[in-house]
Structures are given as structure tokens and as C-alpha cells.
Symmetry: C2
């Protein structure tokens, strides 16, 4: 295994130490519980926005904690849900009295632990509401999921809800908006290589030297098909066709596009994919409001990418443009 | 070879198409010459800032064209210098009459072509000045370099000079500042895997399954040493010691830190490195002004990273904080 790590069991805490060292002005970290909170929480009169999942999907999720996005995030071990206990503690930390919204990608482990935490929180009279994100069109029911998986489209939900909560929207309105955004975002990815988790130290699944997995999950879950390597045009066209079946778009409509690298993919290749997506959308007379190209929700060192399309309206556009201050930024 | 590409010979132009599609409001692209310019050039009364090099180092360099950074960049073929002709054309496009500053990483091919272009430009009475960036402390004289190589520290030079030029500084002052920043930034990297260029289709150099290359160059040039894999603590401590030999810092001084992924390295690992760098600096009572963790200057799909330290003063800090609008951003 070739990784910049010390001991496999320490990777999450050592990453959190680097995160805090990079933005000591913005974040607090509870290393025991692996909770990252925005400084100053709970924010007065604001609904707290919380997410969490296994680590290994960076920048999702702890790197989105900050002003205008998440109030806190719980980092589980690599590819394993955070504990109910940590979620409950984070809930208390960010509840100003206006309640807490859980944004949870659809994996059974995460759903279970967030559900238990919300029950305990409600016993203490903290209002908690959960929205499940399931934007992946690739497959229904998967290794760790009943229904459809939540993938990079979640970042659009965090972004829009983070902005709306900063504007002071109440819990019920945020819940409705998050559910609506989730319906309007669809995603699909593909892998050229497997990821390697630090603890296992060898690839999670076996892919031949000329094979790829279309519709892969964020932990290496099987997708729709294992095929011989295809050209960028072929892969991206197939992925776009699949997404557009679930998100029918009419000429004249507008979308936000996300080309999300899965961890081991060069920026050059992500932009080649972006060019193909833009061409397909142009042919269909669908306008690109904004393009997000880079790493948003990864799978450790997996090579490959996902495409997400979000149908936008005037409100979404305003909220997507809301300025954030989060640790994951370039300058 | 596993890459999201169509034909290897088309990768640069297809990437540029994706780049333009992602920010049609900000950029113009000349596909024949592979020149990316900021819209509205030449900017009145402003010195034009130009760079260029082989492609494969994305986001360096075309992704830094925009407001507050580069006025144009020339993209060569993968790992090969842009032509003299393209550099000369870009020079004319961005010259407002106040002259053009070339910021060139120290590779012989790039230096030669920029030098020829500047000679022709000067024959046409365009004032051109060149600053060579050579921040890599790993080795002196390398496969494609006489002297020391220019690596990710170049991004600090672009950032500071881009901001200063936006403030209206004249050519001679920018040149002096760029030279000074270059002296104050030192870098060193290491590779866990080789990169694979699209045309060759197989790894540029051979590394054993348990080996790493310390001090590697941005094209896979040999570094100081090939060793068995080390722990993150061991590698990063060695790299920091090497940098600090060339950039002696006293307790109380302040630095900007860059942890630069080389293309195939997960964000988790970059932040583990960040935590170690922060600890070493803290022990030496050197303050971190700002941390830049992510991909800034890559080598296609190479796994590994580089560390850069920039000694900052009040002016550098102000210029580093100058807001930019470039295609390489997260939100």
C-alpha cells in the first residue's frame, strides 16, 4: 500500500489535525468524538445543519463545515458511519433552539445512527428533522443501501441549504427545500480503478487492466456494468443519457453541472469530461448556469468521476452563489 | 492505460474546451495556438502577466487565468513547452502598452521559447521582462533543467504578482517583487507512483510496489533518493528539514504553507501531511499565516505531494488575500 500515512488506524484523527491546523480561526475539532464544528456554534436564531458519514470521501464532509454551509459534520472511520453518540453530541452543540436539520446520504449505517441520535435529541426537546439524499441513478439497492445511493449531488443540497439557513429560514422550510433539491439533482459515476482503504491495504475490488465499472458506488459498490475501457465520449454520453432518463430536461431549462473527481483522477481528465457534458447540453439547448469541476465527494484514491446535474431555478441560483467560508477552498 | 480521454493527441484541446465551457464569461481560448486569455485583454494601464509550460500540471497554468492572477497562459502539449509563436501571440494580446511580465518555471524548453518570444516582442517595441522561478530545493541540474527546477512555489509568485499588477504596479516593480518572492519560497516533493502520459500510455519511470522517490520532479525527473516507503512523519520531516536548509526561518517569523497534491493523492493524505508540517512549524515557533492544501501544480496522475513554504511579510499577506476570479475554484 502506498499512502502518505502513519498508522492506518490514525488516518482520520491525523487528517482532522491537519484540517484544524489549516483553519484554526474557523473550526473546532473534538478528536475523541470526531466532530468538526464551526466556531461560535450554536449560531443564534439559526437552524443547525449537520451531516456525517464515513471518512474517505473528502472534501465531503468535514471540509464543508463553515460559514454558509454546514454547522458541523461527524467523521466516521474510513467508509463506516459515525456513531450515534457523536451525532447526538454534534446535534446539541449546534442547536440554538431553532432545531437541527440532518442531511444524510442514503446508506443504511448512516441512516440508522442518525435516526437513533434524532430520537434521543427529541427526548430532550431538540427539534430534529432528517432529509435523505439519494441522487445516484446507477442502481437501486446496493451493498450498503436500500433504495438509491446518495453521492456527489449531496454537495448541492449542503450548499443550497447552508445558504438558506444562513438567511434565517426555519426548519420546516429548510426540510421542504432540501427534499425538493434532492429530487432535482441526479448523478452517476464510473471507476477506472478501485480504491484502497488504509486498513485493508489492497484494492477493494478487482478491475482488469483494461476494464472499468460503470455506475460504481462511493465505496466501490458494484454499478450497472463492468466493461472494457471506453473513450471519454462513449462513457460520458452513456452517463448523461442515464441521468437524463431520471431528470428529464426541456430545451431552455438551466442546470448546474458537477464533474466530480473520485480521488485519483487528474484535473485534465475532469475537464475533458466537462467539455463533453457541455456539448451534449448545448445540443439539447439546456443552459449551464454554473459548472463545478473538481473533487467534491471522493472515494479515497479511486480513479474515475461522477457527473451530477441539478435543475436550477432563480432561488437555487441565488443560494448557490451565496459566498461561503469553508476550509475547502483554493485561495 | 486508464484515462478519461478520447485520442491522446487531443487531450489538451479537449481540456481547453471543457475549461472554456466552464467559464465562458471569464475566458477566451485560441485552440490553434492553445492560448487562454482573460476576457477584455489588454487591460488598460495594467502590465500583462503571462506564463506557460507543458500541459499535465493542471490547475497550473491555464486554470489560473482570470481577474487578479494571470492575463494569459500558453498550454504546451503534455510535458512539452509551448511554442515561441504562441507565447509571442499571447504577449501581443495582453500588452496594453505597459509591458508584459513572463513568469517562467525553470525548464530549458520553456526558457528558450519564452526568451525567443521576448526578443521578437521587443523588436516590436513591446517591453517584456522575464522572471525565472526555481523554488525546488531537491536537486541542482535535472533532466530538463540547468539549475534548480520551478515547481508549486510558482503559484505563490503568480498569486502575489497577479494581485500587485491589478493594483497598477509598473513592470520594473513587478519584476523586483517576483524575484524577491521566488527567493522567499522553497519547495520539495516526493512521489509514491509514476505518472503516465497519454501518448506513452505506460508509467514514465519504474517504482517498486514498496518504493518511493524523494525529491521527484514534476515530469518524473529523478529526485535525491529512491527509498523504501516511509511513514508520513518520516517523509514530511525529511522534506521540511530539506526546505528549511534553504529557507532558514527564525522563531516568530510567518509563512504561507502549500501542501500540493501531485494528481493522484487523496485529500485525506494531503491533510495528514498538513498536520505534520503544522506541528514542525509550531515546535520552531514559526507562525502559519495561511495554509493552501489541495492540487496546485500536478504531474498528471502521480501519487505524492510537495510542500512549499513562503516566508511572508505584510505586503505578501495583503496580496495573497487579494480576491481572485479564476476558473479553478470550488464554489
Amino acid at each position: 500500500m502506498k499512502k502518505i500515512i502513519n498508522k492506518p488506524e490514525d488516518v482520520v484523527n491525523e487528517m482532522l489535525a491537519g484540517l484544524q491546523a489549516s483553519r484554526p480561526d474557523l473550526l473546532d475539532v473534538n478528536y475523541k468524538k470526531r466532530i468538526v464544528t464551526r466556531k461560535g456554534v450554536p449560531i443564534k436564531n439559526k437552524v443547525g445543519i449537520l451531516t456525517g458519514s464515513g471518512s474517505g470521501h473528502e472534501p465531503d464532509q468535514v471540509f464543508y463545515v463553515g460559514e454558509g454551509m454546514l454547522d458541523a459534520a461527524c467523521a466516521g472511520p474510513v467508509f463506516a458511519a459515525p456513531t450515534m453518540d457523536a451525532i447526538y453530541d454534534a446535534t446539541k452543540l449546534i442547536n440554538s433552539g431553532n432545531g437541527v436539520l440532518y442531511l444524510v446520504k442514503n446508506y443504511t449505517g448512516d441512516r440508522t445512527n442518525f435516526a437513533m441520535a434524532s430520537e434521543i435529541a427529541e427526548m430532550e426537546d431538540i427539534k430534529v428533522t432528517t432529509v435523505i439524499i439519494d441522487d445516484d441513478v446507477a442502481v437501486k439497492d446496493s451493498t450498503w443501501t436500500a433504495g438509491r445511493r446518495g453521492v456527489a449531488g449531496a454537495i448541492f443540497v449542503y450548499k443550497i441549504i447552508g445558504a438558506k439557513s444562513a438567511e434565517g429560514a426555519p426548519l420546516e422550510e429548510l426540510k421542504k427545500l432540501a427534499e425538493e433539491v434532492n429530487i432535482n439533482v441526479k448523478s452517476m459515476g464510473f471507476a477506472l480503478t478501485s480504491c484502497t482503504t488504509p486498513l485493508k491495504g489492497s484494492p477493494t475490488f478487482a478491475l482488469g487492466g483494461d476494464e472499468m465499472e460503470i455506475g460504481v458506488g462511493l465505496h466501490g459498490e458494484p454499478g450497472r456494468e463492468r466493461t472494457k475501457m471506453k473513450t471519454a465520449n462513449e462513457i460520458v454520453t452513456y452517463v448523461m443519457d442515464s441521468i437524463l432518463q431520471f431528470l428529464p430536461l426541456n430545451a431552455g431549462e438551466e442546470v448546474a453541472v458537477m464533474i466530480n473527481g473520485l480521488g485519483g483522477t487528474p484535473i485534465m481528465e475532469l475537464y475533458i469530461a466537462m467539455g463533453i457534458v457541455a456539448k451534449i447540453l448545448e445540443e439539447k439547448k439546456i443552459k449551464i448556469f454554473k459548472a463545478y469541476v473538481g473533487e467534491y465527494c471522493t472515494s479515497l484514491d479511486m480513479a474515475g468521476c461522477s457527473v451530477s446535474l441539478l435543475r436550477v431555478n432563480k432561488e437555487y441560483k441565488k443560494l448557490l452563489d451565496y459566498k461561503v467560508d469553508i476550509p475547502y477552498s483554493i485561495f
